[in-house]
Amino acid sequence: MSDGNIEVRNGNMIEIKENIIEIKDLTKSFDGGNITALDGINLEIKEGEFVSIMGPSGSGKSTLLNMIGALDKADSGQIKVAGIDLMQSEDFSKFRLNKIGFVFQLHNLIPNLTVHENVQIPLIETDVTDEEMIERAAELLNSVNLGNRLDQLPTKLSGGERQRVAIARALVNHPSIILADEPTGALDSRMGDIILNLLREIHQKENVTLVLVTHEDYVANSADRVINMMDGKIVDSNIA
């Protein structure tokens, strides 16, 4: 599975895996070229890595994340995620369904569906049976401490609770990569901590690749690596 690369860290043997994300000279502009959101991005992220992306507002963090999640197409360059070439023109819904779990800053949930139903959405019309769907969603909600809120509507939940539901939903398909775009941005620091710890815990337990966009240093510092962006470019990338 791996190329045999071994890195020693904290005295433990950690297997370094293959790149799950490979980006080369990626550019993206909006407004017919007036706004350059991504200006030649080069980035490699390994399987199971926890990478944090920082940078001022408008520096292109969300755009980059959307490229990785195949929500949008780049103008030029190369991008390969989980072995799939995202520069091809096709519908990547299935790719997102199978490989990606998204968590956004706000409004992640469908307001007129219950918490339990929200977590099940990605499994609708998949091979997963109804019973398994219900069970898996309940299990995940239990693990984010919302097992007793299954039948409530998202409007009844606090911001932190909603983010926990969104995280549970992002995990329900056993994705390879979790893309979190400022998931703690709208929360107070106590709530933010809970969410961050939850993501860290999931990253360790599930050995999932985690790409987290954040404004806050303390959040970023818990990552394996921090990437700083500015004006659509990666300005530096250092191991935390």
Partner: protein
């Protein structure tokens, strides 16, 4: 709120649909096997008719009468299976003193309480589409009558009761139905009795003709018209009361026009409602796309919701629509109105709702599916 809007549209469709089905059932009811193919009526000269007599019972709009010797003549024409004379008139039964209303003062007659009187030989009632549903047919020449279903309901009369017409007492021996709301509100007696009652001995309003087996009724009608170019003409409308039926056709057309408008309005409401829903839920659609939903699934969802919305609306619409028709019916604003709550209407109504849901949902669903997920997610 959205459901409310659509419900109004659907209620209009259903209510009007009920009316549409209830009113012109005469023109829509298929000719029964025994019924005549067409009727022969006097050619209106435009001037006062040669008969000149209005009769003591109000006649219908100065309809000219035909000498009944013509019946025998028509019977001789090749291709005629049977020909039967019918005398038709109208009277005001509620106010016995006004039964002498002369046709020269029709303005005094209260249209609502006018009752159609039909005189026809008791053996030939099927030619006029009359079907006895209760009791039996009258004996020719006797003071016996059969009354229409809605007339029975309206006057609260039933078999065994008596009705006084033109100072003569008649016994109700049967209840009938024709499927023609005008005639269902009427009274049928033997031809000679009605001729006698109206001083129209030897005269009929129309002659119902049924072509013999194998004969073409249109050709036959033309042949009769050619034989009596100055006196007679034919009408394919069974009752022979062209004006009334034309009125019905107008109502029928109007009802359909209004229904069509209502359907259109309903459709537009569905489109607007769903477009609004799509724009309100832009962010939601972005999230669903991010989760891995395909465009097709978004389309399915929007059209599905649109159909659901329409189905909920039809339940409300049915209740409101039926309610309105019931109220209209109970106030007797439209005499003889028999809203027909047929299965076909319900099917039609649900069909209309489904159609509105699907067609009204297509464009909004298309719009939703075209939303770029990133744009949708930036939308606040």
């Amino acid at each position: 709120m959205a459901i409310f809007g659509i419900a109004i549209g659907v209620a209009a469709v259903i209510g009007l649909g009920l009316l549409a089905e209830g009113l012109p059932s005469s023109t829509q009811s298929a000719l029964t096997a025994g019924a005549a193919d067409f009727s022969v009526i006097a050619k209106t000269s435009g001037t006062e008719g040669p008969n000149g007599q209005g009769g003591p019972v109000g006649s219908f709009g100065g309809q000219e009468l035909i000498n009944q010797t013509k019946i025998g003549e028509i019977q001789q024409i090749s291709g005629v299976g049977s020909a039967v004379g019918v005398l038709r008139t109208m009277t005001n039964l509620d106010n016995t003193t006004s039964t002498t209303t002369n046709s020269s003062s029709p303005g005094e007659a209260n249209f609502q309480s006018m009752t159609t009187l039909i005189g026809i030989d008791s053996n030939s009632i099927s030619m006029n589409d009359i079907v006895i549903t209760n009791g039996s047919v009258y004996s020719n020449g006797a003071n016996e009558i059969i009354i229409g279903k809605s007339a029975a309901e309206r006057s609260n009369k039933t078999i065994g009761d008596t009705i006084s017409i033109s100072n003569q007492t008649f016994k109700v021996v049967g209840i009938y139905e024709t499927g023609n709301f005008q005639d269902d509100g009427g009274i049928v007696m033997s031809l000679d009795k009605l001729q006698n009652l109206t001083n129209n001995t030897g005269e009929v309003s129309l002659i119902l003709v049924k072509a013999s087996n194998g004969a073409d009724s249109d050709e036959l009608a033309t042949a009769i018209q050619e034989q009596y170019p100055d006196e007679l003409t034919t009408s394919s409308s069974l009752s022979g009361m062209d004006r009334m039926n034309q009125g019905l056709d107008v109502i029928n057309t109007a009802v359909w026009a209004i229904s069509l408008v209502a359907i259109l309005v309903g459709g537009i409401i569905v489109v607007i409602t769903m477009l609004k829903a799509v724009s309100e839920r832009t962010r939601e659609i972005g999230v669903l796309r991010a989760i891995g939903w395909t465009r097709q699934r978004i389309i399915k969802m929007i059209i599905g919701e649109s159909i659901l919305l329409s189905l909920i609306a039809i339940v409300v619409g049915l209740i409101v629509g039926i309610g309105i028709v019931e109220i209209l019916g109970s106030t007797g604003m439209i005499p003889g109105l028999m809203p027909s709550f047929s299965v076909s209407l319900f099917v039609k109504g649900i069909g209309v709702a489904l159609l509105l849901g699907i067609i009204g949902g297509i464009y909004p669903a298309y719009r939703a599916s075209k939303l770029e997920p990133t744009e949708a997610l930036r939308y606040e």
